[in-house]
């Protein structure tokens, strides 16, 4: 199964990445290539929408952790939104939900 990444600019100037498909060992490098340059900017605001992410494994979590660490280094913010129950459980088990901001707004306005 494939992974599609839709990159949009939000009205407030932040970056919005909407991920659909499966995030696993085969597709995670694609997200890594897209998200790391975005968070590697001083005070960048990046939102990751996972409402159409049917499946995520630990490699996907690894990419999000790497993005989170980089974002902290550059004083930016990383928000993850619309987790499916399965992904939400993974965030809870790994303790990621305690340190990464999770939003549940269904649809953000985009330009």
């Amino acid at each position: 199964m494939n992974l599609n990444i839709l990159h949009e600019k939000k009205v407030d100037g932040g970056e919005l990445l909407t991920i659909s498909g499966e995030l696993d060992a085969y597709t995670a490098p694609k997200l890594k290539e897209t998200i790391l340059p975005l968070v590697d900017v001083e005070r960048a605001s990046v939102t990751l929408d996972l409402k159409d992410t049917d499946y995520m494994d630990s490699t996907g979590i690894g990419v999000i952790i790497a993005a989170y660490k980089q974002s902290c280094k550059r004083n930016g913010t990383l928000v993850v939104q619309n987790l499916t129950p399965r992904v939400s459980r993974l965030f809870d088990i790994t303790g990621l939900s305690e340190i990464i901001t999770i939003d549940d707004i269904k649809k953000e306005e985009t330009t």
Binding site: K32, S58, T59, G62, I65, I93, G95, I99
Partner: protein, 336 residues
């Protein structure tokens, strides 16, 4: 190397046979010949040049245009010859790499496979199988002087060689701090610092660490984002999630790990596993945790080792014998 003259005679014989008594068999001889040539590293253009030489012998007055056409074909085959040699070269390199991986896998196996300690009061079963040649799962058991058992199960993100290398680091970090074995939270805090300092930012490790105290029959444990195991209460005859909260190793340097405890009565079980067990995928979707409970329940009359072996076989069958992820399953059952 094959002698050119011999090769020429051999090919000549096969070709004449075919030209004079054309049949399925004489054609098939051509196929056998090509296999023999490949085994001996003879390139396609060399075979073609052999063919041209034999034809020239039969038709010394061959039309010059035919001869030119042959020369042209010979040139056209050179690219195939190069590709063939490159393929041979890659095969050789691949064999070399494979033998290196075999050695690495053996080294890892010798690191991983610690002896499972024996206790009269505790029946221990364990199975650990890599999805590829090397495993990113890790488990260990240590029996200390006070007859306490420490048990650890860890899963390094990813599979294969990178995960295996990282796992070896964990193994040494754990071996180097024996005095802390009795404090699960402290063990994880130290490992977290090791991982955070040494590993790529997208790499992380989940781990469950427990200490079974024999005199109290109590399990002290802590978890670093590891897939929750199960606790089976024989009194209530029910399975519960063995919940312990804690961040994965390598996420945040200052993480503290809370220590939990659980009394273990006779007949109770503690079931620990890596996410290779719960992430089993079949045609119908993912295996639910309830399904794992059902598979264990069916086998509760058996020894712990028979249970883990049986559950593994069943899940392997459900996935058409293709593990997607490293698989580790541990069962501790209190006997007396």
């Amino acid at each position: 190397m094959i002698d050119h003259k011999e090769l020429y005679q051999h090919y000549r014989k096969l070709l004449i046979e075919h030209m004079e008594r054309k049949s399925e068999k004489t054609l098939y001889n051509g196929q056998l010949f090509s296999r023999q040539m490949m085994e001996n590293g003879v390139s396609p253009e060399d075979v073609l040049s052999l063919h041209i030489d034999v034809i020239k012998e039969f038709y010394p007055h061959m039309d010059e245009k035919f001869q030119s056409a042959f020369d042209f074909l010979l040139e056209a085959m050179i690219g195939y010859g190069l590709a063939y040699r490159e393929h041979q070269n890659l095969r050789y390199k691949q064999r070399q790499l494979e033998s290196e991986i075999d050695i690495a896998a053996d080294v890892q196996q010798s690191l991983l496979v610690g002896e499972v300690p024996h206790y009269d009061f505790l029946d221990i079963g364990v199975i650990s199988r890599p999805a590829k040649r090397m495993s990113g799962d890790y488990y260990h058991f240590v029996k200390d002087e006070q007859n306490c058992l420490s048990v650890a199960i860890a899963d390094v993100i990813g599979k294969g060689i990178p995960a295996a290398l990282c796992m070896s680091m964990i193994k040494y970090a754990m071996d180097s701090e024996p005095e802390q074995r009795t404090k699960p939270g402290a063990v994880l805090e130290n490992l977290n610092r090791v991982v955070e300092q040494n590993v790529d930012p997208s790499m992380f490790i989940t781990m469950f660490y427990g200490l079974y105290n024999e005199s109290q029959h109590r399990l002290y444990f802590a978890s670093a984002g590891h897939e929750p195991g199960f606790y089976y209460s024989s009194n209530k005859d029910e399975f519960q999630e063995l919940i312990a909260k804690g961040r994965v190793l390598g996420l945040d340097r200052s993480t503290k790990y809370r220590e939990y405890e659980k009394n273990i009565d006779v007949g109770d079980m503690v079931i620990l596993f890596s996410d290779g067990v719960t992430e089993c995928r079949t045609e119908k979707g993912f295996i639910e945790r309830d399904e794992i409970v059902r598979l264990i329940r069916q086998r509760m009359h058996l020894s712990s080792q028979e249970i883990v072996d049986g559950v593994y076989k069943e899940l392997e069958r459900l996935q058409d014998f293709q593990l997607r992820d490293d698989f580790t399953l541990i069962i501790l059952k209190r006997e007396v």
